[in-house]
Amino acid sequence: MTVLAKYAKDITYCTYCPRLCRFACPVTNAETRETVTPTNKMNLLELLRSGAAQMDAGVADIFYRCAGCLTCRAYCKWRIDVPRVMERARALAVEKGVQPGRLNRHISTFAEHGNPYGKALAAKFNALGLEDRVDKTADTLLFLGCTTIFHFPNLAKAIVKLLDAAGIDFAVHGEEDALCCGTPALYSGAHKDFESAARRLKSKLGRYKTIISGCPSCLASFSIKYPEHGIAQRTRTLHTAELAAQLLDSKRIKVREPFAQSAMYHDPCHLAKYFGIYDAPRRILSALFEPDRVFEFSWNRDKNYCCGGGGLIPVTDPALSKSITRKRLEQFYEAAPDMLVTACPTCERTFHRADPDIETRDLIELLAERLDA
């Protein structure tokens, strides 16, 4: 339990809190089970620390019922980061070998390939036609991230188009174990694999001045999670939405004409809560859509709601993931705009999976379609 000693104060504060974040927790709202409130998860850790409970499969299962969305922190006066403590609790579960069985393949694939998709990821990357950019000398690294490469090649191409339009010279990584930031290993609890991935990548990141990515979780990994694990990484990170908003503001890029359709924007948790980036996407939206054609969820900005794709819940409990997504989509169905727009490949994939009939798009893909040549 020494790994939890650092969080002893967080754990006791949550244990004796009147569960004030419960209404904001997407897992709690979906399961309606006291056991999975952020407060009770921390309470379980208090019982583990005091020896009143032991880490077994039943206890471990609860620690995997966290989407890592940080909405609990948004409503916590003490700003307690429950997901961070859950990451540590999952590491304990893996050490004991009591993690959910559904994760085993995920963990072994990452251990072997350094990414959650295995060999197929490199093939997908090669199909993007970025060979001449691999490891080239440049100030900027474009880190596409495994989910974008594997599921959204068009988004990858759109990001490249944006950078080219702005005249930004950039390099990419090409090896299969350099295409993923390590987040999937972190959330699975396989922290040794995460840390070795982080060290491997860190040695490659230092040569760049800026890392650009369209994946908020990759950026959170580089600038928050690596340092939390003692792996200092100082290269500046920039999300594509932030970059695109800056380029629009400075008129280095222009939008041809706005879309005729309407859109609703979903704030990705890590983008909004780790980085506080929620105005930049809206500035892009205002360039892409008429003002009266943009809708808002009532849970938005830094108090948004998870898409259902966080914390590896789609792997450990797909039904729970879908239930969270359904809750998120309630207001979308009510407002019935033409498309759902986001700025995170995991969110996009989660919405696609839950309802393929919804046109879910990434901001940058939309922007790339309307760039004024």
């Binding site: 650092k6 969080y7 104060k9 967080d10 006791t12 504060y13 949550c14 244990t15 004796y16 809190c17 009147p18 569960r19 004030l20 974040c21 419960r22 209404f23 904001a24 709202n29 309606t32 089970r33 006291e34 056991t35 409130t37 009770n40 309470n43 379980l44 208090e46 019982l47 005091s50 020896g51 009143a52 409970a53 032991q54 039943g58 206890v59 299962d61 609860i62 409503y75 916590c76 006066k77 003490w78 700003r79 307690i80 340092p227 009532s298």
Partner: protein, 521 residues
């Protein structure tokens, strides 16, 4: 989990529960039973600090509809086991504790907002909806229910009704019993009853109110139709300070007597003004910091001084309690007004005139706005107290105006030898007011902590009963205030027990609460 007793429920009963609720919605696992072994009664926190789980249920079920609840209650009558209805478990009196094991009936899956009626201004909803979700949805559509308990983030509509809740804006919008128009409930024998929905009825006793405050002992509330209001177009704020509570209480009394209906009326006594009500940066507490970064040195020193004072209180509460009796200072009165501008302006004007007449110093809008922005924050402080090894609890008494001030000083005097005590006055009426005491103390070990806890509560409740005040304005009774209720009801307690026996002859619903018979009694 070794320290949790195994479920004693017969396997055939568990199998029957699975038939009723489905496999996913029945649990006998240790983690679930541990999670439902406590509510937010501070005494359960004392237990938790020693890793004790003395009251685990045998099983937890999650109902999706009232037919399942009816089947469960019929089964409980046949097989004889207790059923404890459970909303969000935010009660602070042990009302949801499975004292005699049995089955926890969680109703949070019944959380639909069924209908908003714009013509009649009502909302019909299920008991499991969390208060903040309901209010957010109403706000989004241009309404408010006006119910803002400090627990709104962690409590449910069913819990509000079952425990007779009151919110911070109760002077304007009323308490939960004023808001409910009708409800549906599953009776202990499995019958489903629904009360008539009408602005008023003279058809005998009020059966809606029979279930309000019954804390799951007479039936399981499954639906309620509540009054709502258009979202207020105007919200005004004002604060005053007074030398001591007397002139401030007089001001509140006169404001209410003048027919003004402020949304919030909150008067903090000298200590509460220093520690809670007057704090300038209540929302900007220093986060728990694992990776210290350089911070503003002035802020850091100020924070440490403030924390130091609070740590002394937590470390030696009895000494602090005695010293506190001699504190003289300002008392902060917060007033807010909601409604159409013509009305709020007039109410504000009248209130200002009354406060000034009673020597109140006009502090402008800022302190009241600050309270509004931080109105739920006080509950977070509980964590810090328990983390320091102390305990904190609150006592909300109410009485008529002729006794309010005397009762306030008497409770303080009775409690201060054993605990640090401060108070604010809220939920004002034309005829009286609620006093909300916060009491903080500790023991050298858990045994002593519980002993001190009992001593403090005996002194506090005993004083309230002696004054003819009620021992609970809005927290309910549960287990914690059962003795106080018995003393308050006198011979009517036997009548209440008779009602319970007629409605629930096998005593299956939440036994041992509200002073009603224990399981097997």
């Amino acid at each position: 989990m070794d320290n949790i007793a195994p479920s004693q429920l017969d396997k055939s009963i568990v199998a029957r529960l699975v038939e009723i609720f489905g496999e996913r919605h029945v649990s006998v696992t240790a983690v679930d039973r541990a999670a439902y072994s406590r509510d937010l009664w501070p005494r359960t926190h004392i237990w938790m600090s020693g890793g004790r789980i003395p009251h685990p249920p045998d099983a937890v079920v999650w109902a999706k509809n009232e037919e399942q609840i009816a089947e469960l209650l019929k089964l409980a009558n046949k097989e004889l086991f207790p059923v404890i209805p459970y909303g969000a478990g935010s009660g602070v009196c042990g009302g949801a504790l499975p004292l005699f094991r049995g089955v926890i009936l969680d109703v949070k899956k019944m959380d639909r907002i069924i209908e908003i009626d714009d013509v009649s201004l009502t909302v019909t909803a299920e008991p499991g909806v969390i208060g903040q979700h309901l209010e957010m949805e109403l706000n989004r559509k241009g309404y408010t229910m006006g119910h803002f308990p400090s627990s709104i983030y962690c409590s449910s509509l069913g819990g509000y009704l079952a425990a007779r809740s009151a919110g911070q804006l109760s002077a304007r919008y009323g308490k939960i019993e004023d808001m409910v128009m009708s409800l549906r409930a599953v009776l202990p024998n499995g019958d489903i009853a629904e009360t008539v929905c009408s602005p008023r009825s003279a058809a005998g006793p009020n059966w809606t109110q029979m279930f309000v405050g019954s804390e799951g002992t007479l039936g399981v509330i499954t639906r309620a139709r509540m009054r709502i209001y258009p979202y207020p177009p105007s919200r005004l704020f004002r604060a005053f300070t007074f030398n001591g509570v007397h002139d401030a209480l007089e001001s509140i009394r006169e404001i209410m007597r003048a027919g003004v209906l402020p949304a919030a009326v909150r008067l903090y006594d000298e200590l509460d003004t220093i520690l809670i009500g007057g704090k300038k940066e209540d929302s900007v507490e220093t986060p728990i910091n694992h990776d210290p970064e350089p911070e503003n040195p002035v802020k850091k020193v100020m924070h440490e001084v403030s924390s130091g004072v609070q740590n002394i209180l937590m470390g030696i509460p009895k000494v602090a309690g005695r010293l506190a009796e001699h504190v003289k200072g300002k008392c902060l009165l917060v007033l807010t007004f909601e409604g159409v501008p013509e009305m709020t302006n007039a109410e504000l004007e009248t209130s200002v005139r009354i406060c000034k007449k009673n020597s109140g110093r006009d502090e402008g809008e800022e302190p009241a706005k600050r309270w509004w922005e931080n109105r739920y924050n006080v509950s977070y402080n509980q964590s810090r107290v328990f983390h320091q090894g102390s305990w904190v609890d609150t006592f909300e008494v109410a009485t008529t105006w002729d006794k309010v001030e005397k009762l306030y000083f008497a409770v303080r005097k009775a409690v201060s030898p054993h605990a640090f005590i401060m108070a604010h006055f809220s939920h004002a009426y034309v005829h009286g007011c609620c006093i909300y005491f916060s009491m903080l103390s500790r023991g050298r070990d858990q045994e002593e902590a519980e002993k001190v806890y009992d001593t403090v509560w005996k002194a506090a409740q005993g004083t309230a009963v002696r004054f003819g005040a009620t021992v609970t304005h809005h927290h309910g009774v549960g287990l914690h205030k059962a003795q106080g209720l018995k003393r308050e009801l006198g011979p009517l307690m036997e009548t209440f027990r008779g009602v319970k026996t007629v409605m629930d002859p096998n005593n299956i619903l939440n036994p041992g609460k509200l002073g009603l018979p224990d399981w097997g009694e």
